[in-house]
C-alpha cells in the first residue's frame, strides 16, 4: 500500500515540474525585458536612475525612445534595425529624437492635453539650435538640460530644470571657461548667485523669482536684444516698465543703444535696489550720464531728497510707536496706518522709473502726511502714558493717605479699648 502511494506521489511531482521545465527552455529565446536584463549588468546605476523617470512612470520603456524588441533575449534580434532599433542619437539628432513624440500633438494629448508641442521648433530658433544647425555638435540639446535617463517632470524638485536648479544646469556649460572658450564670458552664474533674484529664489524659496530661463527663454534660449530688455524685465516689473516707456529716458536710451533697465540695474548681478541709486553722488547711477547743471541732475537731486525725507520720517514714526509699545501702550491701529506710509514709500520707489520729480513728489507728500499722522498718534500715546503715570501717582497718594488714616484709626480705637 505504502509503495503504491509513493509511486503515485512521484508521478504527480514530475507532472507538476514539467511545465516549468518547458518554460525554462523557452526563456533562452524570449525575455521579459532584455534591455533591462543586459543593461543592468553593463551599467548598475542605470536601473536605479530610471526609477522615477517621467517616461517610465507614464508606461514608456526603453523601446519608447530607442526602439528595438525587448522581448527577444538575443542581443542581435533585440537591437535589430529591422525591429525599429535606433540606438543612442548623436547630438545633432537629439532634437528630432525627442521631437518624435514631443512635437506630435496627437501623441502628447494622450498624456497631457495642455502640453506644449513647440519645444523643438523653438529650440531651432535658440542660440543653441542655430549653432547645432551650423554643425556644432558640442552645444546644448534637450538632454544637456533635461538629462538622458532618469528625466524628471519639470515641476519635480529633483528635475535638473526645477527653478532652483536651472542656474546650476546652465552653469554646467556657461560657467566652464574651457568649454566656453572663444564663445561667451563665463561669469553669468557667479553674478546671478549674488543677485536679488537668486536670493529670493534660493534663500527665500520664492519659486516665482526669475532664474536664467525666465529672461532668456528655455527652449528658445538666447540673449534678449537691447531693445527688448525692458519687455523682458517688464513681464514681472510691469509698472516700472510702463513708467519707463512714458519717461524721457525711453527715447534717449533707444537713440544711445543703451539697454534700458541694464543701464542702472545691470543684468545678471542685479542687486537689491536702494534709495541711494537715485541722486547726485555715487552710488547713484544718475551721475553716470548726468552732470551738474543739467535738468536730469537737478531732477535726481530733487527725487533723492523727497524719498530720503519720507524714509526718514517713516523711520522716526516707527521708532516712536515702538517706544510707546514698549511702554505698554496699544498702538496697533497706528501701526496699521504706518504700513500705508510704507506702501507710499514703495510706490515712490516705483515711480522713480518715470524719471519725473513731480510725480515722485506727489506720492512722497501722500506718504509724508501718513507718516506725520502716525507720528502724532505716537506722541499722543506717549502723552497718554505720562497722564497715566501722573494719575497713578495721584491715586497712590490718595490710597496711601487712606491707608495711614485707617492705620491711625485702628491705633486710636485699640488705645480706647485698652
Amino acid at each position: 500500500m505504502k509503495a503504491r502511494l509513493y509511486t503515485a506521489l512521484s508521478v504527480a511531482g514530475w507532472l507538476a515540474l514539467a511545465p516549468s521545465t518547458v518554460l525554462g527552455q523557452a526563456a533562452t529565446a524570449k525575455s521579459a525585458n532584455s534591455c533591462v536584463e543586459c543593461h543592468t549588468g553593463l551599467d548598475e546605476g542605470l536601473a536605479h536612475k530610471m526609477q522615477g523617470d517621467i517616461h517610465v512612470e507614464k508606461g514608456l520603456g526603453c523601446v519608447g525612445c530607442h526602439g528595438g524588441d525587448p522581448s527577444q533575449a538575443d542581443q542581435d534580434l533585440a537591437m535589430a534595425v529591422s525591429r525599429g532599433f535606433t540606438g543612442a542619437p548623436k547630438p545633432s539628432q537629439v532634437p528630432a529624437f525627442c521631437g518624435k513624440c514631443h512635437s506630435d500633438a496627437a501623441f502628447m494629448k494622450r498624456y497631457d492635453p495642455a502640453e506644449r508641442i513647440d519645444q523643438q521648433a523653438e529650440y531651432l530658433t535658440s542660440g543653441h539650435g542655430k549653432r547645432l544647425n551650423q554643425g556644432d555638435q558640442t552645444v546644448a540639446t534637450c538632454i544637456s538640460c533635461h538629462g538622458a535617463h532618469g528625466i524628471r517632470s519639470v515641476d519635480h524638485p529633483e528635475s535638473r530644470v526645477y527653478p532652483t536648479s536651472v542656474a546650476r544646469t546652465c552653469g554646467k556649460c556657461h560657467a566652464d571657461p574651457n568649454y566656453m572658450k572663444g564663445r561667451l564670458p563665463t561669469n553669468q552664474a557667479e553674478h546671478y548667485e549674488k543677485s536679488v533674484h537668486a536670493h529670493a529664489l534660493t534663500k527665500k524659496n520664492d519659486l516665482s523669482a526669475p532664474t536664467c530661463n525666465d529672461c532668456h527663454g528655455n527652449h528658445g534660449a538666447s540673449p534678449p536684444g537691447v531693445a527688448s530688455v525692458a519687455n523682458v524685465c517688464g513681464t514681472c516689473h510691469t509698472r516700472q516698465a510702463e513708467l519707463f516707456r512714458k519717461s524721457p529716458h525711453n527715447e534717449s536710451f533707444q537713440q544711445l543703444g543703451q539697454g534700458e533697465c541694464l543701464a542702472c540695474h545691470g543684468n545678471h548681478e542685479i542687486k537689491s535696489p536702494t534709495d541711494e541709486m537715485v541722486g547726485t553722488s555715487k552710488p547713484a547711477t544718475c551721475v553716470d550720464c548726468h552732470a551738474e547743471g543739467d535738468p536730469g541732475f537737478t531732477g535726481a537731486a530733487e527725487m533723492n531728497r523727497s524719498i530720503a525725507a519720507l524714509a526718514r520720517r517713516l523711520g522716526e514714526a516707527e521708532k516712536l510707536l515702538a517706544r510707546a509699545e514698549r511702554a505698554g501702550m496699544e498702538v496697533s491701529r497706528a501701526r496699521f496706518g504706518l504700513t500705508e506710509g510704507h506702501d507710499a514709500l514703495v510706490g515712490t520707489r516705483v515711480l522713480v522709473h518715470g524719471f519725473s520729480p513731480g510725480l515722485v513728489k506727489a506720492e512722497t507728500q501722500r506718504g509724508m502726511s501718513i507718516a506725520n499722522q502716525t507720528w502724532k498718534q505716537g506722541e499722543q500715546a506717549l502723552e497718554e502714558l505720562q497722564f497715566r503715570r501722573k494719575g497713578l501717582a495721584a491715586s497712590l497718594l490718595v490710597i496711601g493717605f487712606a491707608l495711614v488714616a485707617v492705620y491711625l484709626k485702628i491705633q486710636q480705637i485699640e488705645r480706647a479699648q485698652k
Binding site: R333, R388, S395, L403, I410
Partner: protein, 370 residues
C-alpha cells in the same frame, strides 16, 4: 411722613433720626440692627498665624473688582469672532479709561486666583476644614474650580492668537475621558473646532452661568463662615483664648489690605497694561510658545512631560485622570482627614499639602522657564 417706628422711638425716648443722622435713618428703615449686633459680638481668634485670616476677605475684595470692571466691559464688548478683538481694541484705545478698566479686570483676575490659592493652602495647613467646617471647605474648593473656569473662559474672550490656540489645546483635553470625552469637547467648543460659536459659548459661561453658580456657592460659603466663625487651629500655641473684635478691629485691618491691593492693581494696570496681542486667525499656523494662563501651567507641563504610553494607557489620558482623582481627593479632604476631625495633629495631610504645593510651584516654574 413719619413712620410707626419713629413714633415708637419718640414714645420710648430713644434718639430720633433728626438727632442721630443718616445712619439711624437707614437703621430704622432697613432693620440692620440684628446684623450690627452680630458684627459687634463677632470675634476673630488672635494667634501667631492670624495673618492668614485676611486672605479670604482679600479674595472677596478682588472678586468685587472683577464684578464691577466686568460689568463696565460688558457695555462695549461684542461676543463674536468678527467683532470681539476689535471691540476690546476699541475699549483699550477709544473708550475713556477703557484701558484701565480692562487692565484692572485682567490683573485683578490673576491676583484673585493667586490670593485664592494662598487662602486655600492657609486653610489647609491650619486644618480649618475640620469639623464642623467641612462644607465651608467644599464650597471653597468649588469656588476655586469656578474661578479657574472664569479664567479659562475669560482668556478666550479678546479673541487673540495666543488665547485661540491655547483654547484649542485646552478644549482638546477632555477628549481623553472615556465614553463622554468627545461630547465634553464638543459641548465646550460648540462644534468640532474652536470657532466663533466657542467664543459665544465661553462668553455665556463667563457672564451668566459661572456668575450664577458663584453667587449661589459664595452665598453658602459666606453664610457658613458667619455660622461657624473663624477656626482656631488645633494644637499647642493656639489655645491662648485671645480674640479680636471683628468690627471694627479686624475689618479695618481688612480694609488696609484691600487698599494695598487696590494700589498694587492701579500700579500694575498703569505700568503694565494688559496686552491685546494679534487677532486670532483660525487658518494661521499655531504660534510658537503657546501656553495656558499661569494657573494651568503646572497641569499643562505635567501632561507635556508624560511619556506617550504609560502602563496600559496613553500618558495624557493617565495624566488627566490623575488630575481628576486629585481634584476629587482635594474636595473630600475634610472627610478623609480623620485625625484633624478629632482635633489631633495630622502630619500625613500636612505632608500631602506640602508636596502638592511644591509640585505646583516647581511645575509652574518649569513651565515659565521652558
Amino acid at each position: 411722613m413719619k413712620t410707626t417706628t419713629d413714633f415708637k422711638e419718640r414714645a420710648s425716648g430713644r434718639p430720633t433720626e433728626a438727632q442721630s443722622g443718616a445712619a439711624e435713618w437707614l437703621r430704622n428703615r432697613l432693620g440692620t440692627s440684628p446684623l450690627e449686633e452680630i458684627a459687634a459680638e463677632k470675634t476673630v481668634p488672635r494667634h501667631r498665624h492670624s495673618l492668614w485670616y485676611y486672605f479670604g476677605g482679600m479674595t472677596l475684595f478682588l472678586f468685587s473688582i472683577q464684578v464691577v470692571t466686568g460689568i463696565l466691559l460688558l457695555l462695549y464688548y461684542r461676543p463674536s469672532a468678527e467683532e470681539a478683538f476689535e471691540s476690546v481694541q476699541f475699549i483699550m484705545t477709544d473708550v475713556s479709561f477703557g484701558w484701565l478698566v480692562r487692565s484692572l479686570h485682567s490683573w485683578s483676575a490673576n491676583l484673585m486666583i493667586a490670593v485664592l490659592f494662598v487662602h486655600m493652602f492657609s486653610v489647609f495647613f491650619l486644618k480649618a476644614y475640620r469639623r464642623p467646617r467641612e462644607l465651608t471647605w467644599v464650597t471653597g474648593v468649588l469656588l476655586l474650580f469656578i474661578s479657574l473656569g472664569f479664567g479659562f473662559s475669560g482668556y478666550l474672550l479678546p479673541w487673540n492668537k495666543l488665547a485661540f490656540f491655547a483654547t484649542r489645546v485646552g478644549t482638546e483635553i477632555p477628549r481623553v475621558f472615556p465614553f463622554f470625552g468627545d461630547f465634553m469637547m464638543r459641548f465646550l467648543r460648540g462644534g468640532d473646532e474652536v470657532t466663533g460659536a466657542t467664543l459665544t459659548r465661553f462668553f455665556g459661561f463667563h457672564v451668566a452661568i459661572l456668575p450664577a453658580l458663584t453667587t449661589l456657592i459664595l452665598g453658602v460659603h459666606l453664610w457658613l463662615v458667619q455660622c461657624h466663625g473663624m477656626s482656631r487651629p488645633p494644637g499647642p500655641g493656639y489655645e491662648n483664648g485671645k480674640t479680636m473684635k471683628f468690627w471694627p478691629n479686624f475689618l479695618l485691618r481688612d480694609i488696609m489690605g484691600w487698599l494695598f491691593a487696590l494700589g498694587l492693581l492701579a500700579a500694575l494696570a498703569a505700568i503694565f497694561p494688559w496686552e491685546l496681542g494679534e487677532k486670532a486667525d483660525p487658518f494661521a499656523s499655531a504660534p510658537a510658545g503657546i501656553r495656558p494662563e499661569w494657573f494651568f501651567l503646572f497641569s499643562f507641563e505635567t501632561l507635556k512631560l508624560l511619556p506617550a504610553h504609560l502602563w496600559f494607557m496613553e500618558g495624557e489620558t493617565l495624566g488627566v485622570l490623575a488630575f481628576a482623582v486629585g481634584a476629587a481627593f482635594w474636595l473630600l479632604v475634610p472627610f478623609l482627614d480623620k485625625r484633624a476631625a478629632r482635633g489631633l495633629p495630622s502630619r500625613a495631610f500636612t505632608a500631602i499639602g506640602l508636596l502638592v504645593l511644591i509640585y505646583i510651584i516647581v511645575m509652574t516654574a518649569i513651565g515659565f522657564l521652558a
